[in-house]
Amino acid sequence: MIPLPNLDVIAFLVLATFAVLCGLSVILQKHAVASALSLVGVMGALAVLYLMLGAEFLAAVQMIVYAGAIMVLFVFVIMLLNAGSEQKSNRPRYFAYFAGIPALLVFLGLIANFILRELPNSASVQFGAFTQGGPAPVGRLLFTKYLLPFEVTSLLVLIAIIGAMVLAKKEID
């Protein structure tokens, strides 16, 4: 029998490819709804990757909060405003050539540097080796070790909500 490569690796490659393609699609699509849905695809692929790495709770929350709530709101707003396709301007884009190409080169250099320096030193990921990703261990950590950051974050969100309400109310008055 031919030795099959590990199924985890195949699944990882498929999902990673899917995530990268969706990520490219987010910026390359002309239509806002298509971009938003590509972002949902990225988030779905990430959720499954979390699941494969043993972070079950994180995977579920990723789907519920990001794909299910935030992106639904995004899509809702895009549809409500009925945003059409992006229009290309006819002006020559000097900025893209003079700033974009050097920026791209710097970015590629950074990535290459990072890969060349870190890849030989890092241990390879073991799928299924991490078992502390269920709701119980995460909850225990959130309410003991990380209680202060957790509460501060929730306070911050509360302030943001109140701020949004104040701003929206001013508009109505």
Binding site: V40, M63, G68, M79
Partner: protein, 397 residues
């Protein structure tokens, strides 16, 4: 290989039963609605319209699928796929019965067991809105767009009370695994079910969950996304043939799934309402009673010509089913599957009947009433319920 084979068999059985349920749920809904409105309902195809679902499937499958002009073709075709596939996922984590042993193989009566089962169901139901929203938007029709928008807003709003109402019993049950949730409600009597423990907090949570479930599945009185007298048919106005059937199937699948979740978490899953030796005679009694009525009507006063033949046939079938359940009390090998599944199906059926009953009874909300109801009433009630239950668990364990 055993595991593989057993899983395959379970998938085939659950899928077949699920699809049949979806097809016949529609028949039941039409019949019940008709009788609420003093009509007869489907009557032509088969005895009392029993073959109507088959006729509908053939009709929908053979119709021409029209793609209207100026729609966003890719998303227009994608939307029903998203709706159907997301609607069919959640049934995989629902436990239908306890662990059984058959021919030396030990297995659970469910497709898969997850330690985050409840979260998975919440995740799937929160993503489910994309099918409807996309379908409405891609159709390039103002009524469809309005339907899709209403649906998104409604599902986001009602998800909050639903998730909080779902979290309330978890405080008592202390697990997210649906199998363990159902097992911890055992103990013989119905007051061990979460809906009736810690009264009246968890019963309120159950009612809040049920109301949100109506909104999540876009059912009357929250069916604004497809309100026919203002939006033609809402998000699926432009759809025809199998794409339309897909949306239709997704709605019913969501209904079945959400009632299964309510049964598992609030109504004790597969546990009978009172202890085993007596509760095992309930199915027999019910089927024999039903069979006797059918036989009596078929043999003495058939209203239609064919009732003379069909009523006795179904009566005898029902009597036979009752006999099978009676026999199962003596053979634990059969009984261990039949009785839990019977009680599970009975509870799900009761909840589905309530869904249909409400549709036949209540008028539709106006949009602002719908939003005010969830944000100013349902959400605070669910939140208060959660806090009080937490207080009770903290103080009395």
């Amino acid at each position: 290989m055993d595991y593989f084979l057993v899983s395959l068999i379970k998938i085939v059985v659950v899928f077949g039963a699920f699809m049949t349920t979806l097809a016949y749920l529609q028949w039941v809904e039409r019949k019940v609605l008709a009788h609420i409105q003093l009509r007869l309902g489907p009557q032509r195809v088969g005895p009392h319209g029993l073959l109507q679902p088959l006729a509908d499937v053939i009709k929908l499958a053979t119709k021409e699928g029209v793609i209207p002009a100026n729609v966003n073709t890719f998303f227009y075709i994608l939307a029903p796929f998203i709706a159907v596939s997301l609607a069919l996922i959640s049934i995989a984590v629902i436990p239908f019965g306890p662990a059984i042993e058959l021919f030396g193989v030990r297995t659970n009566l469910e497709l898969t067991s997850l330690n985050i089962g409840v979260l998975l169901i919440l995740a799937i139901s929160s993503v489910g809105v994309y099918g409807i929203a996309l379908g409405g938007w891609a159709s390039n029709n103002k009524y469809s767009l309005m339907g899709g928008l209403r649906s998104s807003a409604q599902m986001i709003s009602y998800e909050l009370p639903m998730a909080i109402a779902l979290a309330t019993p978890l405080l008592v049950l202390n697990t997210l695994d649906l199998r363990q949730i159902a097992e911890r409600q055992g103990g013989g009597w119905f007051w061990n079910w979460t809906a009736f423990s810690a009264p009246p907090l968890l019963f309120i949570a159950f009612v809040v969950f049920l109301i949100s479930a109506f909104a999540e599945t876009n059912r009357v009185p929250f069916d604004l996304p497809e309100a026919e007298n203002e939006l033609v048919a809402g998000f699926h106005t432009e759809y025809s043939s199998l794409a339309f059937a897909g949306f239709f199937m997704a709605e019913y699948a969501n209904m079945v799934t959400i009632t299964c979740v309510a049964t598992t978490i609030f109504l004790g899953g597969w546990h009978p309402p009172f202890p085993a030796p007596y509760s095992n005679y309930v199915p027999t009694a019910l089927f024999w009673f039903f069979g006797a009525i059918l036989l009596f009507h078929g043999l003495t006063q058939p209203a239609r010509r064919w009732d003379r033949f069909t009523f006795p046939i179904f009566g005898v079938l029902s009597l036979g089913l009752g006999a099978i359940f009676l026999g199962a009390t003596f053979f634990p090998v059969v009984g261990q599957i039949l009785f839990p599944v019977f009680w599970f199906v009975a509870k799900v059926g009761l909840l589905l009947f309530i869904f249909i009953w409400v549709r036949g009874t209540l008028p539709r909300f106006r949009y602002d009433q719908l939003m005010r109801f969830t944000w100013t009433f349902l959400f605070p009630v669910a939140l208060g319920c959660l806090l009080l239950t937490g207080l009770k668990v903290a103080l009395f364990g």
